[in-house]
């Protein structure tokens, strides 16, 4: 069972401290945690830490923490409990605090100390988790969130996942994302807004001969709703969507995923027949559906990379060939280089790109890449010292140690690798007197680990 919970700022100052069982040595445990974390050797896992030695009171205390928005959320326990439930709890708490306080940050937490304690009291009793559902907690929470500043439509500084994306034609006010879901009950002017995101993470591994070793896509459909809870909505997915290896739908190859899991509030009555998810979401964020597919991607990979390396002087040419997709944003190629490389000369195909050496690696930034284009970069560098393979006359194909693998990171707006689309989002809800609710639906793919071996 959980003994203590605390939130530390990025500098290790306690913002929230709660003791559930009175079996602890007091609040200096928080300091102990921070010292231990910062002094941890590189290859040890920070996930689960145990105190030993030291002062008698803190012996055998286990710390489990996550880092969220530069805060440390930590629980301690002295029993053999499930670290999974603690980690899940911490991430739920992060969401909850975000829902209630607007956003999770040092400022919002210290402005809302009383609210946070009240929440903690309802979520955890004597270290047993009671509930983490925003909806259920609404019945119990009395304190109202203190919001820092009035919302401004013009404040586009913080662009979060649910915030605006400047490239899109429609711009959602960014403050929408950082406003408490459960803002004051008296506030009737509250906007009726729904954000629906289909987000996919792509991880790819390509061997040096160009063959695909591994592909997998992890996707989720996330919803953030400001509608009064209990209002029903229907989300229509691509009709050719099939689950599992065998199922076939539609005429084409279909959109196939290996596994799907749904949030418990989703009603699947119409899923089999029409691929429609029905749900009555509580206010706040929730992951409606999670899915994954591996090995068999229906669409071609978004990028191809043709690296070639010559070893006389240490020069390499890298050609990047994006597939005809609308645009990719923030593309970055990261290529670790052998130790000791200091100088780099470059020839790039367009002026807005940038390449530089950082932390023993080459970084090639391409802020925006048009689909179907081909981009190339030629990099030359000097590798000092004798341990270069050419001196031994080995074949040049043997990759020198420390070079590669190249990895790409990117974002593909309005694109899903699996091909899954949201056909429609319909609300059964009729707001009383207010304008129609705003619905924001987005599709986004980004790289998790897109690795090309050299």
């Amino acid at each position: 069972m959980i003994s203590q919970f605390f939130i530390l700022s990025s500098k290790g100052d306690p913002l929230i401290y709660k003791d559930f069982r009175g079996d602890s040595g007091g609040r200096d445990v928080a300091e102990l945690f921070y010292r231990k974390l910062t002094g941890l050797p590189g290859d040890e896992s920070p996930v689960v830490m145990v105190t030993s030695g030291g002062k008698r009171h803190h012996d055998g205390r286990h710390f489990i923490h996550i880092r969220h928005s530069s805060l440390y959320l930590v629980v301690t326990t002295s029993e053999n409990v499930s670290p999974f439930s603690l980690l899940e709890l911490l991430s739920r708490l992060a969401t909850l605090l975000g829902d209630y306080c607007g956003s999770l940050g040092e400022g919002t937490i210290s402005r809302n100390v009383a609210l946070v304690y009240e929440l903690l009291d309802e979520v955890l009793d004597y270290g047993y988790v009671q509930t983490t559902s925003t909806e259920m907690l609404r019945n119990f929470i009395q304190t109202e969130a203190v919001v820092s500043k009035p919302f401004s439509l013009f404040d586009l500084s913080s662009v979060g996942l649910f915030g605006a994306e400047t490239q899109q034609s429609k711009v959602a006010p960014s403050s929408a994302a950082s406003r408490p879901v459960l803002s004051s009950r008296s506030d009737q002017s509250q906007k009726n807004e729904v954000f629906l995101d289909v987000v996919e993470r792509l991880s790819v591994l390509i061997a040096s001969n160009g063959s695909l070793l591994k592909v997998d896509v992890q996707g989720e459909i996330r919803l953030k709703s400001f509608l009064p809870s209990g209002s029903e909505m229907r989300i229509g997915l691509t009709e050719e969507f099939c689950v599992g290896k065998s199922e076939l739908r539609g005429y084409g190859p279909g959109i196939r995923v290996d596994e799907v899991s749904f949030h418990s509030s989703v009603n699947l009555d119409e899923f089999e027949s029409h691929r429609i998810l029905r749900l009555q979401p509580p206010q706040g964020e929730l992951t409606v559906m999670r899915y994954q597919l591996s090995d068999d991607l229906p669409s071609p990979l978004p990028f191809r990379l043709f690296p070639s390396v010559q070893w006389d002087r240490g020069s390499g040419r890298t050609t990047l060939e994006p597939k005809p997709r609308p645009v990719s944003l923030n593309v970055r190629l990261h290529l670790p280089l052998p130790r000791g490389v200091v100088s780099l000369s470059q020839e790039l195909s367009s002026p807005e790109q940038k390449a530089e050496l950082a932390d023993g690696a080459l970084r090639w930034d391409l802020p925006q890449v048009q689909g179907g284009s081909q981009l190339s970069g030629l990099f030359q560098m000097d590798v000092p010292g004798p341990p270069g393979p050419p001196s031994h006359g080995l074949s040049t194909s043997a990759s020198p140690l420390g070079l590669g693998p190249a990895s790409l990171s990117f974002e593909l707006p309005r694109h899903t690798c699996s091909g899954l689309q949201v056909r429609f989002l319909r609300l059964a809800f009729r707001p009383c007197g207010n304008a129609n609710p705003h619905k924001w639906v987005r599709h986004l793919s980004h790289s998790d680990a897109y690795v090309i071996r050299i």
């Binding site: 999974f84 693998p405 990895s407 680990a449």
Partner: protein, 939 residues
């Protein structure tokens, strides 16, 4: 208005300012002041001086303010216990508030105030809240019992809270059930010997039902509780597995892992030939794979668990090698875990793939990871023999890179490969020797020296190589020094002529110039060996070495089995049993996987099946159960009582009752089938008591009359708990007399004599009417059947449950205690027929709140058959009506102590369930009468 100003600097008068604000008349101002106090408390300022002022704010109807004050109280009550008592009255009052939120808040906060004095005030409110109508209050109260138990365990037992908590397991609200299970599990952990959470098929069924309705967090409590249960055979294990499997696709990883734990544990009981076993294996893989797409923290914890699962059952994930491939952006701790699992999954089928991956890893940047990757290649070679050659050539490729740490690591693993496959790959020695100069790590140097010494006869310049090491002998680490000493001695034994000088040099370095005792001793041993008997020295030093084992890093099987029971807990992350890191006595009960029991066996030997608790689970007969102890000390058993008499509920049967499953579980629920042993006389030709005269009036048209229902004999006291004496028995009622039919079996090796029996005081004054007569001594393996007549004139004490009977049996060996439940219908007397007018009057007279209604399911009897069945057990039909197609039977019965119970049984033709309404002036018997009804009607 923002709270941020609360964090401004401390001025001298801050406390005074706050004090003034707290005593303000305005509610808003008070509230803001308490918020400020709490903000100060959080940043560690001492605001305990404000205690009385804050407590003054407590009496408010503003819930928000109340919550804030309570928050403060929880924090400071410990340091100001006297002040805390001031708050008690408000707490007690709040526990009766019409608002359930306030009731719950009060009881929750009181539990958190860890002051001894407050506990006595807490008991009454807590008792009320445990029976509150609002589930939110009940679930809070359930947790509060655990809190109170932590402060004062004795008090909780004395006040009977544990029983109430057990009742809550059958609550209608799943949240309450989950909290009750959590609280009981924790309390049970601190008393490993108590039977608090004794699980049986009935309670398991309840938990499985609650599982489907609970929140995700409640599901975790319940699944963890299920994992502690041992099914009695493979069929039960399978049916539990089937009901747990859907949890595998839950979005909460903790639920998934708890389900995996239950499945991994119960799978142990399933036969591998079963189709279901294969299905289960297939179902386990996807959820484990899914965990690997979570955030790195969860991934790490998941990988540590998968590492255990893979060692226990590699077949689950054998086709999933690819998911363990390392991603470049994985944190190092995730990478290392993945690497370890890859090796464990490596087999001939996938070794090519694995090696290609490992080779890639070995060229990465991160030094730690590269080293581990190189080691992994060596481990592959040792694990998969067919791949050894490939591994060696991969290692040679890596040595060619000349990168210092790669070369050193490669040499260390090649040494192991030589040990595993001697005389196979020695051709590579030349390449190794080229790199001699670049070795600077002790482990690599020692490995290289070992190779040179071992293969000295094949290396032309072995003496030169070793001599070069010898120059800086005293600067080397011990590991290298020892290795060098042995290598040179080996060299000398192989090439004695050229190396005499060298060996003398090393021996004198080791013995005379070293202050390391290990080194000195080894030096002397070699020296003496060489000087006394060179042939013997050769036999010793050059003896054939045992091959190194395939995987030296596997977790020891018994530890692995224990860790499997702890999947999804910290133990599975540390790979250590909980006793190694949990303080105190909590949670250190050793767990083991259940033994495999086939259901076919249990069908053949019904006697042993129900006692199938695995050995070691309940090792001793004498758990400390204070409340039972007190009662049994009153027993008078005659002189041979030795040692403190202690009692326990005897078998799983007895344990059933503790969870409130009651009588039906004892009789109807147990699946072992034994034919009713004691047949009741079919014809009542013998004298019939006056009360029986009515009996034939009603039943004349009905077929044979067969006396009161007799349950099959159940084991009450297993032999393992009673030094070889096994007692099974049942209760009968024949012609107005009650008897206890006992079967005593001697399973010990010695003869048993001098039997005696005594009952503890009980609810209906049951007592033996005659001494226990066992005429001849009971020799080993002999069984004797005895019918012990009972009277109902013994002393009376209300028991919980009502029909609980505690029995002591003595023989020449010792005194043994067990408790059992008797079916209530043995107490139904023959003159229990009430006349119609009387019935009507009494029915009206008994208040409505005493009426209890029950459903009897699966009882497809018509009114006639039911009536006659019940009559044979002395439940008499007073009148019969037909209302709207339903048959209504009005019945009466009387207990031995004169209590009348009136019943209305509604039977709908064609519907297998019937409804029973009971009215009685002592409503607590209703539950048991209902169970008796059910038992009689179903048998």
């Amino acid at each position: 208005m923002t709270d941020s100003k609360y964090f401004t600097t401390t001025k001298k008068g801050e406390i005074f300012e706050l004090k003034a604000e707290l005593n303000s008349d305005k509610k808003e101002k008070k509230k803001e002041a308490v918020k400020k106090v709490i903000a100060s408390m959080t940043v560690g300022k001492d605001v305990s001086a404000l205690f009385p002022d804050v407590v003054n704010c407590m009496q408010t109807d503003n819930l928000e303010l109340k919550k804030l004050v309570y928050l403060y109280l929880m924090n400071y009550a410990k340091s100001q216990p006297d002040m805390a008592i001031m708050a008690v009255n408000t707490f007690v009052k709040d526990c009766e508030d019409p608002n359930p939120l306030i009731r719950a808040l009060a009881v929750r906060t009181m539990g958190c105030i860890r002051v001894d004095k407050i506990t006595e005030y807490l008991c009454e409110p807590l008792r009320k809240c445990l029976k509150d109508e609002d589930p939110y209050v009940r679930k809070t109260a359930a947790v509060c019992v655990a809190k109170l138990h932590d402060i004062n365990a004795q008090l909780v037992e004395d006040q009977g809270f544990l029983d109430t908590l057990k009742d809550l397991i059958s609550d209608s609200n799943p949240m309450v059930v989950a909290n009750a299970v959590a609280a009981l599990s924790e309390i049970a952990e601190s008393h490993p010997s108590s039977n608090l959470l004794d699980l049986n098929p009935q309670s398991i069924n309840k938990l499985l039902t609650a599982l489907n309705e609970c929140t995700e967090w409640g599901q975790i409590f319940i699944l963890d509780c299920l994992a502690n249960y041992t099914p009695k055979d493979d069929r039960e294990a399978q049916s539990i597995c089937e009901r747990v499997t859907p949890r595998l696709s839950h979005a909460n990883s903790a639920v998934v892992l708890s389900a995996v734990k239950v499945l991994m544990k119960f799978m142990e009981m399933l036969s591998k030939d079963l189709d279901y076993y294969g299905t289960l294996l297939k179902k386990l893989a996807p959820p484990l794979v899914t965990l690997l797409s979570a955030e790195p923290e969860l991934q790490y914890v998941a990988l540590r668990n998968i590492n255990l699962i893979v060692q226990k059952r590699p077949e689950i994930l054998k086709h999933e090698m690819k998911v363990f491939f390392v991603k470049y952006n994985d944190p190092i701790y995730v990478k290392l875990e993945k690497l370890d699992i890859m090796i464990r999954l490596a087999s001939q089928a996938n070794i090519a793939q694995v090696l290609a991956e490992l080779k890639e890893y070995a060229t990465e940047v991160d030094v730690d990871f590269v080293r581990k990757a190189v080691r992994a290649i060596g481990r592959c070679a040792i694990k998969v023999e067919q791949s050894a050659e490939r591994c060696v050539s991969t290692l040679l490729d890596l040595i060619q890179t000349k990168v210092n740490y790669v070369v050193q690591e490669a040499i260390v693993v090649i040494k192991d490969i030589f040990r595993k496959y001697p005389n196979k790959y020695e051709s590579v020695i030349a390449t190794l020797c080229e790199n001699l100069d670049s070795l600077d790590e002790p482990e690599a140097r020692a490995a290289m020296i070992w190779i040179v010494g071992e293969y000295a006869e094949r290396i032309d310049n072995a003496d030169e190589l070793l001599e070069s090491f010898l120059e800086g002998f005293h600067d080397e680490s011990t590991q290298v020094q020892l290795q060098l000493l042995t290598a040179i001695v080996k060299l000398f034994l192989k090439k004695p002529t050229e190396t005499q000088e060298l060996v003398q040099q090393v021996l004198s370095l080791a013995t005379q110039d070293s202050d390391n005792p290990d080194l000195r001793d080894r030096g002397y041993i070699y020296w003496r060996l060489l000087s006394t008997d060179p042939v013997a020295a050769k036999e010793v030093v050059l003896a054939e070495k045992p091959l190194i084992s395939e995987e030296t890093d596997l977790i020891e099987p018994t530890l692995l089995d224990e860790l499997i029971c702890y999947i999804g807990t910290l133990a599975s992350v540390y790979h250590k049993p909980p006793s190694a890191f949990v303080e105190g006595g909590r949670g250190v009960v050793h767990k083991s996987l259940p033994p495999r029991t086939a259901s076919s066996e249990s069908a053949e030997s019904p006697e042993t099946a129900p006692t199938g608790a695995p050995p070691g689970e309940q090792p001793d007969v004498i758990p400390a159960q204070g409340d039972l102890l007190g009662d049994l000390l009153n027993l008078d058993l005659g002189p041979p009582v030795s040692g403190p008499p202690l009692a326990t509920s005897s078998v799983q049967m007895g344990a059933v009752d503790l969870l409130g499953g009651g009588l039906d579980s004892l009789i109807g629920g147990t699946n072992f089938v034994a034919p009713p042993t004691a047949a009741v006389p079919a014809n009542l030709g013998a004298p019939i008591g006056s009360g029986l005269s009515d009996l034939f009036d009603l039943t004349s048209g009905v077929g044979t009359l067969s006396g009161s229902y007799v349950a099959p004999k159940a084991v009450w006291l297993p032999a393992m708990k009673a030094k070889g004496l096994e007692i099974s028995g049942t209760f009968t009622r024949q012609v107005g007399s009650i008897s206890m039919d006992l079967q005593l079996t001697n399973k010990a090796l010695q003869v048993m004599t001098d039997f005696a029996i005594q009952f503890n005081r009980n609810s209906f004054g049951l007592a033996p009417a005659a001494p226990l007569q066992v005429h001849a001594p009971l020799s080993p393996n002999q069984t004797v059947e005895i019918s012990l007549p009972l009277s109902t004139v013994g002393s009376v004490m209300k028991m919980e449950p009502l029909n609980n009977l505690q029995v002591a049996v003595k023989n020449n060996i010792d005194v043994f205690y067990f408790s059992t439940l008797y079916p209530l219908h043995i107490l139904f007397v023959e003159d229990g027929k009430m006349d119609r007018q009387m019935f009507l009057a009494t029915w009206k007279d008994i208040p409505n709140e005493n009426e209890a209604q029950f459903q009897i399911r699966d009882c497809p009897l018509n009114a006639e058959a039911a009536s006659s069945k019940l009559q044979s057990s002395n439940i008499f039909t007073v009148a019969k009506r037909n209302v709207e197609g339903q048959d209504m039977l009005y019945q009466s019965l009387k207990l031995t102590n004169g209590i009348w119970v009136l019943a209305e049984l509604r039977i709908q033709p064609g519907n297998p369930s019937c409804t029973l309404s009971l009215k009685c002036r002592a409503p607590e018997v209703s539950q048991h009468v209902y169970q008796a009804y059910e038992t009689i009607l179903k048998n």
